[in-house]
């Protein structure tokens, strides 16, 4: 009974209590995420906050009798568009955060004032407009949402729909043209690559980091056939980290050196004992 009543008062078949509770939760979540989005520095965090807003809006569409749009919102926006954003963020560099220095003096202050004025303008304007209550649920917007949408798209809005296809093709072509990079030098063949490798003097790949009895770590340099170590086997980032942590970049930690000294001393004692036995 309540469900039926709600269906006749709000245009959806959601219980009014749930409707209100959900609305306020989602409204606070989306506005909070939006404000966080324009405040955080990292682009990745912005993308995550945008995902929160978009998912909240998807639930709101579902609450307002638009289940198809809710799923399109999740699939197209949160699924495709936001992933595209994340791809570009990763391509451009995850560390490309905004600098906090204002290039235009008082930019944030004036932007805030302009935003506030804009909000007041819109709210006053919409407050004066006559926004009626929700229309009672009809067959068009509750029971057969998808068929109703399909009927509208393929009858009344068929020309915008066709124009959309042209737009999508243009966008795909535009993206290909813009993302294309002309190759200024011929692509090196396998023969060129092989020649370059032999000419460079090092035919074998770089030695991997060392695995000793005492260490099994990427910051241990590899031991060459002649017994010496090579620093080329250790990534420069790892070596830099070792320096930052105060370690010897060659991997000679003081404790390990002590152990090696002890092993050497034991070996000498053993050799001396063996010498005594032979005598």
């Amino acid at each position: 009974m309540i469900t039926v009543l709600a269906a006749h008062t709000s245009g959806t078949n959601l219980d009014p209590i749930y409707d209100q509770v959900l609305f306020w939760i989602l409204a606070v979540a989306s506005v909070g995420a939006g404000i966080t989005m324009i405040c955080v520095r990292q682009a990745v965090h912005c993308a995550l906050m945008l995902a929160v807003v978009m998912l909240s809006l998807a639930v709101m569409y579902a609450m307002q009798g638009a289940p198809f749009l809710a799923f399109v919102q999740i699939i197209v926006y949160t699924g495709a568009v936001l992933m595209l954003f994340l791809f570009v963020v990763m391509l451009i560099g995850i560390t490309s955060g905004d600098s906090l220095v204002e290039t235009i003096k008082g930019q944030r202050l004036w932007a805030g004032i302009a935003g506030g004025a804009f909000a007041v303008l819109l709210i006053v304007g919409i407050g004066h407009a006559a926004i009626g209550a929700a229309h009672p649920a009809t067959a068009a917007n509750s029971a057969a949402n998808l068929t109703g949408l399909a009927t509208l798209i393929f009858t009344t809005y068929v020309f915008p729909f066709e124009a959309t296809s042209a737009l999508l093709i243009t966008a795909a072509l535009g993206a290909m043209v813009l993302a294309h990079r002309e190759r200024t030098t011929p692509k090196p063949t396998q023969r060129d690559l092989a020649r370059r490798k032999v000419a460079s003097g090092q035919v074998a790949p770089e030695p991997p980091p060392g695995v000793y009895a005492l260490h099994n770590a990427v910051d241990m340099p590899a031991r060459l056939p002649d017994g010496s170590t090579t620093s080329r086997s250790v990534s420069t980032a790892v070596a830099q980290r070792d320096i930052d942590l105060g370690r010897d970049p060659e991997g000679n930690v003081a404790a390990d050196l002590a152990v090696e000294d002890r092993i050497e001393a034991e070996r000498q004692i053993e050799a001396a004992a063996r010498g005594r036995d032979q005598q």
């Binding site: 324009i38 978009m54 307002q64 905004d98 009626g132």
Partner: protein
Amino acid sequence: MSPAHYIFLSVILFVIGAVGVLVRRNMIVIFMCVELMLNACNLAFVAFARMHGNLDGQVVAFFVMVVAAAEVVVGLAILMAIYRARKSASVDDANLLKY
């Protein structure tokens, strides 16, 4: 909730997006703020559709989504091209047409 609530929420989200476009200088983030504004418009369209009891508003929101998807593809391609040329995603560095 009445459609007015949703419309006021969409106003707030739209203003947040507009302020973000004004304040931020990373191109990707500005783009995300534009997406936020488009989403706010969609919410208003869906609320209007419910207010009038027909589906036209939902169809318009659907078209807005399609156009936004196309816009994102081209916009991000432009952004990549600028990044390749300038090695920066900041709007301050794309200033050849400034003076």
